[in-house]
Amino acid sequence: MPYFCGIDIGASSAKLVIVDETGRIAAKALRRSGVDYAAVAEKNLVEALASANLRREDIVRTVSTGYGRDNVPWSNGRLTEITCHAHGAWWHFRRPITVIDIGAQDSKLISLDAAGRRVGFKMNRKCAAGTGAFLEEIALRLDLSVSELNGLAEHSTKEVTLGSFCTVFTATEILSKIRAGDKVEDIIKGAFHSVVKRIAEMGAMDGDLVMTGGVAAHNPCLVRLMGESFGKPVHVPPDPQFTGAFGAALLAKENVHTHHV
């Protein structure tokens, strides 16, 4: 049976997905992107092939995406994460949706019509507010690991507002909240609210809302706050951190025109 591979090398982690000809996920792998994108791509491939008992020759075609899309030597085509996340998300929902993807370095808002065609997209501007990097900075300030944020935010009992646009200034603001005696869990929920506000500023939320990316995968509390803010449920596809890689694998299968740039 032919298989197709998608690899999404993001600013923080590299995700690889192998699908069969029906689009079913046969294997996946994830590790930190590090500094050698070609090497991390290779490690992910070897791991995924082994887990599904496949050989390299079984992979008919590979599409790479993400910041490191140009650094995968064996890729047959390169597409942006906007196209791949959109396609991966739409596969699960197949109706007009707005995809909210929050990655380590950027946030994206992608509107799709009922046929899965892109109607429009927005990326965050130059700064990292509203991205995974923002939450990493907050965790650092609070001497926590990123994985602890969601659990603590779930126990928040008080509204704490962080008002700044800027990640660095927000970190300073947090220091003043600590001095004022605010609890860590309330500050973290305030940071989650701040991410929701940055997303809300980016564009219109048409159709059903779907969240993808690492932040959605690890922070259900933030996903819930997003839904409360927009007044409609926010859906999360299976394995949201892999949505970009999954979309790339599907596009490899569909053999759409891809660029070598």
């Binding site: 950027d106 759409v256 660029h259």
Partner: protein, 345 residues
């Protein structure tokens, strides 16, 4: 030149340190920064430095920054700085406005006569206006050649080719340059030679160039087989209204008509015409951090034009000269994603 040679980002901080904010025009801050450093790209052309001016003449039709910029030099060199304050956000070009700007232009004459030590020669002014008019007609012809499919010239070529229309307008040599260029473009159109081989999509560049990234951007569009066929920026040196028989009123009309000092309605109508003329598939807006006057995405124009024209837009955040304000990776991904979207249509 400071931007395109990527000197600007090194010298802007010198102007910032002397009280010129990093948020104001980076033409101003890079030029003054280079002056403070006693450096200039003109040295590569055998000049020792920036030539000292006897007088500085501004027109605020583009922005106030040009006046502030020139006043710095007037203070440095103790020379006069005079100019024209053109009304902005103009809708229709009403006669009283033209009359006012023409009178302001005429009012410059006594100071200029004093600086030059001679009277204004009206016949010579008419002759220079005639040459300027001819130059601008040819430049218009060069840019309009890109209406052909495939386009024989891109916006990025235009940013370089516009040099004579900017600094040699009114000279015979500029006319000869554009006659030769236009003849070559006509040959390319006749032979079906495109600037972007295999041109698939045609897009418009609205706003300032990113001067330090011309090659990178033009190469990316080339690889995407997408031609940036036209721009408001290069079109801003087309002055159809110049009139050898009435130089002052002609100049007033010409310099009031430019896109940057017009109302949102007038700008929208202009881009609608461009979309039809150049058969556009999309529009790219450059949100230029230090040039709010020429960042036309900030008051919902892209969304309004999307609805009217039925073609998509992209906003790129950057700057004309200050590369500290430009994220290469973000811009690259946005442009590629935009073209991927055009493929889906």
């Amino acid at each position: 030149m400071l931007g395109a040679s990527r000197m600007a980002t090194d010298v802007i901080p010198l102007a910032n340190a002397r009280g010129f904010s990093p948020d104001i025009c980076s033409y101003l801050t890079s030029d003054i920064g280079a002056y403070l450093k006693n450096d200039t790209p003109l040295k590569k052309m055998g000049m020792s430095g920036i030539p000292k001016a006897d007088v500085l003449v501004f027109n605020t039709n583009q922005c106030r920054d040009v006046k502030d910029w020139f006043q710095f030099y007037a203070r440095e060199w103790n020379v006069p700085c005079i100019g024209i304050h053109t009304p902005r956000s103009l809708g229709d070009l009403d006669e009283p406005i033209i009359e006012d700007v023409a009178r302001q232009t005429e009012a410059l004459v006594p100071t200029l006569e004093k600086v030059a030590g001679q009277k204004l020669d009206m016949d010579r002014l008419k002759e220079i206006t005639r040459l300027s008019r001819r130059c601008t007609e040819l430049w218009k012809g060069v840019l309009e050649a890109a209406a052909a499919v495939p386009a024989p010239i891109t916006f990025f070529d235009g940013t370089i080719q516009m040099g004579p229309a900017v600094v040699l307008r009114g000279t015979q040599s500029a006319i000869e340059y554009y006659e030769a260029l236009l003849a070559e473009l006509k040959q390319r159109v006749a032979a079906g030679v495109g600037a972007v081989p295999g041109e698939r999509f045609r897009v418009y560049w609205e706003g300032m160039p990113v001067w330090g990234k011309l090659r990178d951007l033009s190469t990316q569009f080339l690889n995407l087989k997408t031609c940036v066929v036209a721009s408001t920026y290069c079109n801003s040196w087309i002055f159809d209204d110049l009139d050898p028989d009435d130089p002052f009123r002609g100049m007033a009309r010409a310099y009031c008509r430019i896109f940057i000092c017009r109302s949102e309605d007038a700008k929208e109508r202009y881009i609608e015409q461009m979309a039809a003329k150049y058969k556009l598939d999309g529009i790219i807006y450059h949100d230029c951090k230090t040039c709010p006057n020429n960042s036309n995405n900030r008051y919902q124009m892209p969304e309004r034009l999307d609805a009217k024209l039925g073609i998509p837009h992209l906003v790129i955040h950057g700057d004309l000269n200050d590369l500290r304000l430009y994220s290469e990776e973000q811009a690259k991904t946005n442009i590629q994603a935009f073209v991927e979207g055009l493929e889906q249509r």
